[in-house]
């Protein structure tokens, strides 16, 4: 892979955008250049009303993404600057705020920020060779792309706490049983399966798809009565527009 290759590839297939983490020689580790490219692509997904569904995948045979690129660590001028920059340009917050459905196509290693990024997606379809983990405590830190918050929202608490405190990964079967991924397929079938899910979602009326995602995702953070009120508002607005 030449150094001039873009760290994130974006390809459009009708109403579907495929984003590919593209540093296969580094197991698609997320470095500053990839973060910049992701930021630009996610802004595009946010601002382009013609995109109905986005897929996130990793280039190369070995990994979706092995996580943050350690060689970038400690490059912020100060702790305060590090905190400030994360608040100013909140990549994972932007991803979580996208209204269109996001699908993660997972294979090989999905560690640290790689797994965290996939947990910002709505569907996680995995190849049976996948290994999912939050290994940060092995290096003396904690998941910092939302992992400590998202893992407990996707899997039962006993497993969530085991994953964040031991740092050890789980495989496809355990991930499927725990609900961390919705489906497991053979590696050679991954792209076609994800393509089918994406096409199926893209056939739905975009306004209803966006409103349904918003009602479910935002509703989970609200008391039930407020969530039901949100659903009523959203369903009325979609029905009124149809």
């Amino acid at each position: 892979m030449s150094p001039d290759e873009p760290p994130v590839l974006a390809e459009r297939d009708g109403d579907i955008v495929w984003l590919t983490l593209n540093r296969p020689e580094r197991l698609n580790a997320i470095n500053l250049a990839m973060r910049d490219a992701l930021w630009a692509q996610l802004c595009m997904l946010r601002d382009d009303p013609t995109v109905r569904v986005a897929v996130l995948q990793g280039a190369g045979p070995r990994a979706f993404s092995a996580g943050a690129d350690i060689t970038d660590f400690g490059t912020a001028p100060s702790y305060l600057a590090a905190r400030e920059s994360r608040r100013e340009r909140d990549l994972w917050g932007l991803m979580l705020s996208l209204e269109i459905p996001l699908i993660a196509a997972l294979h090989g290693f999905a560690y640290g920020a790689g797994l965290e990024m996939s947990m910002c997606c709505d569907l996680r379809i995995a190849a049976d060779d996948v290994s999912l983990g939050l290994p940060e405590v092995k290096l003396g830190y904690i998941p910092s792309a939302g992992g400590t918050q998202l893992i407990s929202r996707h899997v039962p608490l006993s497993l969530a706490l085991r994953m964040v405190t031991t740092g050890d990964p789980i495989g496809a079967d355990e991930a499927l049983a725990a609900g961390l991924v919705q489906r497991v397929v053979r590696p050679e079938a991954l792209t076609a399966t994800v393509q089918q899910y994406a096409a199926s979602l893209a056939r739905h009326e975009p306004a209803s798809l966006r409103a349904t995602k918003r009602a479910a995702v935002q509703g989970l953070e609200l008391p039930l009565a407020e969530g039901l009120a949100l659903e009523r508002r959203l369903s009325a607005s979609v029905a009124g527009a149809a």
Partner: protein, 254 residues
């Protein structure tokens, strides 16, 4: 023999419970409170706690005296379930090894731990409603949070117990092993935690435990703040250095 016995091996503490045949009462809960206070105040570093039982069964219910306390005017005594809260509040990750029945207060003690490992012979249940009672060790709160509302309510409302396979399926335990192997399995998880950055494992526990009580947005903010605090630690610098130098890290807890 007190109910809760604490032993230290390296940086791993083992809390061994010994429930009397007549059920768990105030003396047992006081013993657990004291053990938790000793873990909190220990001069040596404790990175993880294994919680286990002298026999296969953890505990299967309260004593007659403990249940009689319920008719006393409220406010006279500290809540009897407070020891479960103290166990849940330990800063270190806790790993429960459950070989047999964990019913009523037995299950509530297990729910106060972070990670639960069961033997295939284990059984779990919250039988209070079948006796006209309400759980008093945090069961109505921690069970639905551990397994979700549907599974939690089924256990709480029917009072019927479930076997180990069902407990694994609903996520009440995260691992099952052959009978007799549960203590080794829990100790192995605790040793793994002990090999990680000790500040990081406590922070990771706190981030998850606090986060489930917050909205996602508030939880993400808490995680970011804890991440930045960790960036100031020597262990984090050592962890990154060791990774780059392809060697095992030497964490000091600083």
């Amino acid at each position: 023999m007190s109910f809760a016995t604490l032993s230290l091996g390296g940086s791993i503490a083992t809390l061994t419970l010994d429930a009397p045949a007549g059920g768990v009462g105030r003396a047992e809960m006081d013993s657990l409170l004291q053990a938790c206070a000793r873990i909190e105040g220990a001069p040596e570093r404790i990175d993880a706690v294994v919680v286990t039982s002298t026999r296969d069964d953890w505990a299967t219910g309260w004593s007659v005296e403990a249940l009689a306390e319920r008719s006393e005017p409220s406010g006279m005594l500290a809540p009897i379930g407070a020891a479960c809260d103290a166990l849940a509040a330990l800063p270190q990750p806790t790993v429960a090894a459950i070989g047999g029945s964990a019913l009523s207060i037995g299950l509530e003690l297990a729910l106060a731990c972070d990670i639960r490992v069961g033997s295939t012979a284990a059984r779990f249940g919250m039988p209070e409603t079948a006796r006209g009672l309400v759980p008093m060790g945090g069961g109505t709160q921690r069970l639905p949070r551990a397994v979700g509302r549907a599974h939690g309510l089924l256990l709480l409302l029917t009072g019927e117990d479930i076997d180990a396979a069902e407990a694994l399926r609903i996520g009440l335990v995260s691992q099952l092993v052959a009978p007799g192997a549960e203590r080794d399995a829990a100790a192995s998880i605790a040793r793994t935690i002990g090999a990680r950055g000790p500040v990081a494992t406590r922070f990771a526990k706190e981030a998850v435990r606090r986060g489930v009580e917050l909205t996602l947005q508030e939880g993400l903010r808490a995680e970011l703040d804890m991440t930045v605090i960790l960036q100031t630690t020597a262990d984090r610098a050592e962890g990154v250095r060791a990774f780059i130098e392809r060697r095992e890290p030497r964490f000091t807890g600083q």
